[in-house]
């Protein structure tokens, strides 16, 4: 190689390096792969978590919001006062906030949003969050007074839900396809069936986002998801659908695998009103026939935390009650015999589409068979499941992950699909509802967990894990999912 050539090649390679680094430094966009596409983009009129994943805290904000650890933080309300008796909340709003269409955000928008959510013709999927509100008034443009009919211990928590975000009357008509919020990102484009893109809101009232744009790309097939991550078509795959590939990604320096908690208590729901499950001994036998770790290993490839009650293990008030139903097939058989079923019985096991249910169902069926309970498995689509099992009570057993945060209150609803009817528990939840003192609330929550665990209402399996594959240089993606959100406001590229 002559001197001239060496010089040339050094120049060329450093130029290439320069281009490479500057191209890298300029990376301010992110593409996130997801399995489920939202039906539309209005978080206040559908249950689909896929909507919140796109819009929560990115496009829309509420009075309060969830932080990455699930704590309730101030949102559009910078502070609040609670009256002595706990029924009047006076929110002080941030000033100078505008919606993405340029209209200003004021107290009247809060009144509009909350009144809309609790109206008679409201289609809010979590309308119960607003049931306690008696009136909402705008005191001045930056002050809102919310009056409750009775004190409500978790009102600020409720207002942090995606279903309680603040929307504007000016843009409500087209919210489903052109969401206009106050968040750090503006809606840009939705190529239906393919992707949704957001761009940074440069006139954001708070800390501006580091990313200039973000794209959510919808890939439903697990094989396709694998290919998209490997080919680096996506920078992250949130809630990666094929846990069997995770070990491979963990070994690859290009990626980081995030494994965190969700609010999804995965349970083997039992029809408490249906014979023989109306006998607590039978329910206890079912619970003791279940080897939770075998299900976590077999169905979830080891991802998931065993639970003994309907409560998230990462919550400070969680009580570990897995010991109430240890895996003990012999004791389970004895219980069945005591209840009058020495030879077991046959029941139905209805499985909705997610893999935790389909894979877990096979394992549970085998475990139940060991104590003499035969199951007729049927695989249902969600719509069928809602009609047959959820509304029709036509099931013996079913497997569902309850993904709403802090939803132990469903056990106080006797008409709820597993039909648990216990006056003591219902009273406790009522007391909890109006209790404001944190220490007392914690105590009540612990009692509630214990009651349902000792009543063996359902078979408590595991807390659903959230596993995401993320480019190793991308930081700020939430590891846990205190709510179904992909908050991009703190996401950036490192190095």
């Amino acid at each position: 190689m002559t001197g001239n050539q060496t010089m040339k090649s050094i120049l060329l390679s450093s130029a290439a390096l320069l281009i490479a680094t500057s191209a890298y430094a300029a990376k301010t966009d992110v593409t996130i792969g997801l399995q489920l596409e939202p039906p539309h983009l209005d978080p206040t009129s559908a249950a689909a978590g896929a909507i919140d994943q796109v819009v929560y805290s990115n496009i829309f904000e509420g009075l309060t919001r969830f932080g990455s650890d699930g704590a309730v933080l101030p949102g559009l309300a910078k502070s609040w006062d609670i009256s002595e008796d706990g029924t009047v909340y006076t929110f002080k709003l941030h000033s100078g906030v505008t919606f993405h269409d340029g209209t200003s955000f004021e107290a009247s928008d809060v009144v509009f949003s909350l009144d809309r959510a609790r109206a008679e013709d409201s289609t809010n999927a979590q309308k119960a969050l607003f049931n306690g509100i008696e009136s909402v008034e705008a005191v001045d443009p930056t002050t809102v007074k919310v009056t409750l009919s009775a004190p409500q211990g978790n009102f600020l928590f409720n207002m942090a839900w995606g279903d309680a975000v603040i929307v504007a009357p000016e843009s409500i008509a087209d919210i489903k396809n052109n969401p206009v919020g106050t968040g750090a990102f503006k809606f840009s484009e939705w190529r239906q069936g393919d992707s949704i893109s957001l761009v940074r809101n440069d006139s954001y009232w708070g800390t501006p986002a580091a990313l200039e744009s973000a794209t959510f790309k919808y890939i439903s097939e697990p094989t396709a998801a694998f290919a998209a991550v490997m080919a680096e078509d996506v920078d992250a795959f949130y809630s990666y659908p094929a846990p069997e590939n995770l070990a491979q990604f963990e070994a690859d320096p290009r990626f980081t695998v995030l494994s965190g908690n969700t609010e999804g208590e995965t349970i083997l729901a039992i029809n408490n009103k249906l014979e023989p499950f109306d006998d607590v001994r039978v329910r206890r036998a079912v619970s003791m026939a279940i080897d939770r770790q075998a299900i976590i290993d077999g169905a979830m490839f080891g991802y998931g935390t065993p639970i003994g009650t309907h409560f998230a293990p990462h919550n400070p008030d969680y009580v570990d009650l897995t010991g109430n139903a240890p895996f003990d097939p012999e004791a389970a058989k004895a219980l069945l015999a005591e209840a009058g079923y020495p030879d077991g019985f046959t029941t139905t096991l209805k499985l909705p589409p997610p893999s935790y249910a389909r894979r877990g169902g096979e394992i549970i069926a085998a475990q139940l068979r060991d104590i003499g309970i035969q199951t007729e498995i049927s695989n249902l689509e969600w719509a069928q499941w809602l009609e047959q099992a959820f509304r029709g009570y036509d099931f013996g057993l079913t497997i569902v992950s309850h993904t709403e945060p802090m939803d132990i209150g469903i056990y106080a609803r006797p008409e709820y699909y597993f039909q648990y009817d216990n006056a003591e528990f219902q009273d406790l939840i009522e007391v909890l509802g109006v209790e404001n003192d944190p220490a007392t609330r914690s105590e009540l929550l612990r009692q509630a967990q214990t009651i349902i665990s000792e009543d063996y209402v359902n078979g408590y399996l595991f807390q659903l894990a959230l596993t995401s594959v993320v480019n190793a240089k991308l930081t700020g993606i939430w590891k846990d999912a205190p709510t179904q959100a992909i908050d991009l406001t703190a996401v950036s590229w490192s190095e």
Binding site: H40, A125, I219, A383
Partner: protein, 315 residues
């Protein structure tokens, strides 16, 4: 020719009416309420009822059927329950992927199958023929989604020549859009081209043994001349039938390939709409597909008459 076309048109309309009834009835039987699906397991009953009213689901079945068919006749396919946008907009978006993909795959199919089929027939029993028969057998047997995954591993993950999937949209330019459709089109075309080559070959072989071929040869035409002028045209009827079927299949049946390459096509739309109980989308898209299939069959019938003058007279 005119009566032939009129008759075909009549049966086209009748098929459409019957199809609309069958589709509506089938979808009504499917359990699951769109409003409950959308509002999830925490919704209050009054909220579900409010949404049912908003979606018009509180009307009687007859009212909804007439409303739907009436809308279709005036070109209005209704509004999607889930997406809340006009079904015609959603469908036209999806057709921008599905139609070019189907045409692209069909073009590849024809471009490969015609020469291969003709070559194999012309050299019957030769090494070429045996190779073609073996290769096409394999092409029919290989599941196309598996072949697609192999292509993704090779061209997207290892070589990085293509994206693993997705569709950039036509506004990104013709070249990127066509590039995104290339692997899916090849995956779709592989089994179709194999089938069509075999049909082409056997159909040509049939005509080659006809009396008129001997006559043509006796008139002094070379083998090649006789094949191109007489055999090929007569061999086209079964080939056209297959192409017609293949096109309809490619338009709606690409769903697995659409999933492998995460393309926003019609197949995936129907699949999603069924799971979400977006009944109006399912009804309208299925109706549109039925219409497309019937229309393609109608055009194939017309093409028969064009390649085979006897059909015009007979009818």
């Amino acid at each position: 020719m005119l009566t032939y076309v009129t008759k075909r048109l009549g049966s086209l309309c009748l098929s459409l009416i019957v199809a609309s009834l069958v589709i509506f009835a089938c979808i009504e039987i499917v359990p699951g309420d769109p409003a409950s699906f959308m509002l999830g397991i925490n919704a209050q009953p009054d909220t579900i009822q409010a949404l049912r009213v908003e979606l018009g689901l509180d009307q009687s079945q007859a009212q909804r059927y007439l409303g739907w068919v009436g809308g279709l006749l005036s070109g209005d396919m209704g509004t999607s329950y889930t997406y809340r946008t006009p079904v015609s907009d959603i469908v036209s978006d999806r057709l921008q992927v599905s139609l070019p993909l189907a045409l692209y795959a069909l073009m590849l199919t024809v471009v490969v199958a015609f020469p291969v089929g003709i070559l194999a027939a012309a050299r019957r029993g030769s090494v070429t023929d045996i190779t073609v028969m073996g290769a096409t057998q394999l092409g029919v047997a290989i599941p196309n989604f598996w072949f697609a995954i192999l292509m993704v591993i090779l061209f997207a993950i290892n070589l990085r020549w293509f994206s693993a999937g997705g569709f950039p949209g036509w506004d990104a330019g013709i070249f990127p859009a066509m590039k995104a459709l290339t692997l899916p089109a090849i995956a779709l075309a592989l089994p179709q081209a194999s089938i069509l080559s075999r049909v082409m070959r056997s159909s040509l072989l049939d005509t080659l043994s006809e009396d008129y071929m001997r006559t043509a040869r006796a008139k002094g035409l070379t083998r090649r001349q006789a094949l191109w002028r007489h055999a090929l045209r007569n061999a086209m009827i079964p080939v056209l039938t297959i192409i017609g079927l293949q096109f309809s299949f490619l338009l709606a049946g690409a769903i697995i390939i659409e999933n492998v390459f995460f393309l926003p096509g019609l197949g995936r739309l129907v699949f999603q709409a069924i799971t979400q109980r977006d009944l109006i989308v399912v009804e309208s898209v299925v109706m549109l597909l039925v219409f497309a299939v019937i229309l393609v069959n109608f055009l194939v019938d017309i093409a028969y008459a064009w390649v085979d003058p006897r059909l015009r007279v007979r009818s």
